[in-house]
Amino acid sequence: MINSISILREIIAYVFLITGTYFLISNAIGMIRFPDFYLRLHASSKCLIAGSISVLMGCIVLEGISYISLKLIIIIIFLLITNPVAIHAIAHFAYNYSIKPQKIVKNDIKQ
């Protein structure tokens, strides 16, 4: 009985880890294939955050309840707060650097 529970936990942990690695690889390919700067920033924000959270949650399930999983939870909270702030700082810097989005369909900002 105990053996089957540990096997089930390992399967759930590896599903989380493989999903996170897939998101990180799709981030890397999106950085190359997308044609515009802001589209690249879309790929670089969403896939990066989801991939890192998924890898850390897989490590928590693999670990169980101890001090080390508390440290991993602190890393998750820190990444959730600081990573959108860093992406927003880069986008604001690019907007002031006079990089305009190309191939735009509809524009509301009067310049």
Partner: protein
């Protein structure tokens, strides 16, 4: 005094997690370090806890904790949903986009609540903030993957729902 005590307890808990085991000497060293840290950071802490602890009734604080859980759940759910959509665009053979730039006016007043709303907009599917105008309180937002007007109205309603939750917490 209440704010300093709350800062002290939070920093001591963080110290005990970092240390990894509880001992008497670890506890004594932790109190010394956290007293110094809470004295140094009292200017920043007063700004944050003035908003959180504005009224001390017990019932109101429970409602606030419920909305904090809702906002954190919305963070993680939106992150996974939008990552699946973007990674679907990455592996297409001929990816087709329809980018737009849009202005949205907000009704929030405090600076921390505006910051948290901009973090939420950065994670909802297909939106990214370019700039914020402090005089008119307008967000400049860059969108992909919005084809028709119905989707635009639906996403504006989603942003308005998040804005209502944040207004319950901070104001």
């Amino acid at each position: 005094m209440k704010k300093k005590l709350l800062t002290f307890i939070l920093t001591l808990a963080l110290w005990l997690v970092f240390a990894g085991h509880i001992n008497f000497s670890v506890f004594l060293l932790g109190t010394l370090v956290t007293i110094i840290c809470s004295i140094i950071s009292r200017m920043f802490a007063a700004e944050v806890f003035r908003l959180l602890l504005m009224n001390y009734e017990v019932k109101v604080s429970f409602v606030k904790i419920y909305y904090i859980f809702l906002v954190v759940g919305a963070f993680i759910y939106d992150a996974f949903l939008s990552a699946v959509r973007v990674s679907k665009h990455v592996f297409e053979i001929n990816p087709s986009f329809s980018p737009k730039t849009v202005q949205i006016k907000t009704s929030l007043q405090n600076l921390p609540s505006i910051m948290i709303l901009s973090n939420l907009i950065a994670l909802t599917p297909g939106t990214l903030i370019m700039d914020f105008n402090i005089l008119n309180k307008n967000y400049f937002i860059h969108w992909i993957d919005v084809r028709s007007e119905d989707e635009a109205a639906l996403k504006k309603a989603l942003i308005g729902k998040h804005e209502k939750w944040i207004a319950k917490i901070f104001e």
